[in-house]
Symmetry: C2
Subunit: 370 residues, 2 copies
């Protein structure tokens, strides 16, 4: 008698069985195809790197959440990748340092972390994304937002929403018309992020209160934000958001939450979060940033399509199966495979077409319904 | 001044840059497509599992070569997968225990190990394979060998060779006409594997000497082996090899090395190794076996196409690039992408078509050569 628990997977890790694996594969390919068509070349970094090298490029974010272990070969600490963006940044700064800019790269692969969150208990995720390296302009941001929407559309997501944010909003205002003591900035950012009016006042951020209400459907929220910007210090940012919005209007519902900060710790002037109808939680996020360790500007996004897979997997089609009886016509079978049939060959006389999930059988060189 | 070595990757790990990544992706998809067309459903197991669960299914093989680390959540030891076959075996024995047999599954993913070998210093590999679960008959073996060849053909491999072996040859003979003491079996197996005639005699395996010469091109080597088999104890095996050979003749060069054992420690009666012209080392191997921990018979193969990628990557085409000037016709660009063009959009007036690797430019709604 073996212990049945020994076959369990660790919490937060799971197998994708055929329906779910087919959905994940289809979604991954559809997204990569769209990114490739927009000139983004795929790179494939390794699963494991030196922890120090990854940590340095992550600006301290998440590094404690990486699986780490000593490499018996180098006697240095390695880490299992928790984010492929930093790996792509490293590639841009090393192997592709001499490639012309802007450099368009994309990637897809599994990432893992020690702890999930309450909302997202998975400890392994499929991460798919694109990075436009060398630019963090409005034009770059517009291309990247449009590409993220196109990738989600190609994957079959419906009712896409994009929530814009201005990650450096508090810093911009505090350096200009609404000064704050350095130590107050951190608290004001946090209280604005959670929309806590009382906490904001307590933190000395009373002047920032109106920002709490400059949120919601895009054009209106941008109006409100512009109305608050008496000195015009946010002018180029708001104008940038409007240009990005014009580029994708009609393809996604657009909202603005200018003071959202959580999850945008390393973005510069622009950030966005992606959602789709019927899909739990966010599907991804992106924005403008500087590549850790090299300070090159960049714009990009990462998609985590796990919940999209969950939403569609029950309806995922694996393709019609054609049963090939013993001693069937092999050339006919090959031809039908080339036409898109999935064949299931009998290995002995006991193999049964219906039991093996076949809807058709090869007879006289053609597929006949069972 | 930063330390340039901090961007190095650990020994045996590497980035795939665009040409190489495109070749790996094309090869991976081509192989998965062929396996899918033959009725093999893809599964996607996690990167990480409990070490104990993986080790139990690996029959002690390679377990010391897995990257291992303590999971701060469960306080148990996890391992980064070094082989996906054992994961697929676990899936067959757990999540798909009730699925009808034979069960056809396939997979593709990255695997990692602590130490490479002199011949294969990589510590991370792309592993792609198929498992036919519930059967280890000649018919199963023939399907699997044919499928492995078809997968390699689809990936663009030329001059494919298949080397057959009989992993339990020494046990079969020792249990029958050529008895050996249990402790002599291990030595005889090893000396036969290395074709060391002197060592074989020393190990008490003089009677096994003729096997050293029953190797080479398939039909002749099978003849020699049959001639040595005076009692007929190998009759069904040799007949099985001949049936498999008939199934794939003309599509691959076939050889027999009946006493090759290294790397076939967990195979039962049949094993095979795959090679292709112009590709260094072996491309993969397979055979019949029992799933570790559940003892269900199975037949399968694993391909490691890294060296095939190396052989073709310089010639890999990334697709013609079409430059989209500022304020281009977006609908025309979308149409051209749908026709297979890869577009590269100007983000500012300084972006140059030739510098960005474009061969064409969008003009008056059409692609014009630069």
């Amino acid at each position: 008698m073996t212990d049945p628990t020994q076959d369990l997977l660790p919490e937060g890790l799971e197998d994708r069985l055929p329906q779910s694996a087919a959905a994940a594969t289809r979604i991954e390919r559809a997204m990569l195809r769209v990114m490739g068509a927009h000139g983004y070349d795929r790179v494939r970094p390794p699963l494991v790197e030196f922890e120090q090298s990854m940590a340095r490029r992550m600006n301290g974010l998440m590094t404690r959440n990486m699986f780490r272990f000593v490499d018996p070969r180098s006697l240095r600490t390695l880490a299992l990748r928790a984010d492929m963006t930093v790996q792509v940044g490293r590639i841009a700064a090393t192997g592709l340092a001499e490639a012309p800019r802007p450099l368009r790269l994309c990637y897809a692969g599994q990432v893992a972390r020690i702890t999930g969150t309450t909302l997202e208990p998975r400890r392994e995720n499929l991460q798919i994304g694109a990075e436009l390296i060398g630019r963090d302009t409005v034009a770059a941001a517009a291309e990247v937002v449009e590409l993220a929407i196109a990738a989600l559309e190609a994957a079959g997501a419906k009712g896409i929403s994009v929530d814009f944010t201005l990650p450096d909003l508090v810093d911009t205002l505090a350096d200009g018309p609404l000064p704050l003591y350095p130590e107050a900035r951190v608290r004001v950012r946090r209280e604005l992020d959670t929309k806590d009016a009382g906490g904001l006042i307590e933190a000395g951020g009373e002047a920032y209160l109106p920002l709490i209400h400059a949120t919601g459907a895009f054009p209106e929220a941008a109006e409100k934000l512009a109305a608050l910007d008496s000195t015009g210090v946010l002018g180029t940012r708001i104008d940038g958001l409007r240009q990005i919005a014009r580029r994708v209007e009609g393809r996604a519902r657009l909202t603005l939450d200018p003071s959202e900060r959580h999850g945008f710790e390393y973005q510069s002037w622009f950030g966005f979060t992606l959602y789709a109808e019927g899909v739990r939680g966010e599907l991804g996020r992106g924005g403008t940033y500087c590549i850790g360790g090299s300070d090159e500007p960049a714009t990009g996004f990462s998609l985590y399509p796990e919940e999209l897979v969950e939403a569609v997997k029950a309806d995922e089609k694996l393709g019609a199966r054609l049963f090939l009886p013993m001693d069937h016509d092999r050339d006919a079978a090959q031809k039908l495979r080339e036409d898109g049939w999935r064949t299931v060959a009998a290995l002995d006389a006991g193999d049964d077409a219906a039991t093996l999930g076949c809807s058709h059988i090869l007879e006289d060189g053609a597929a006949r319904p069972l």
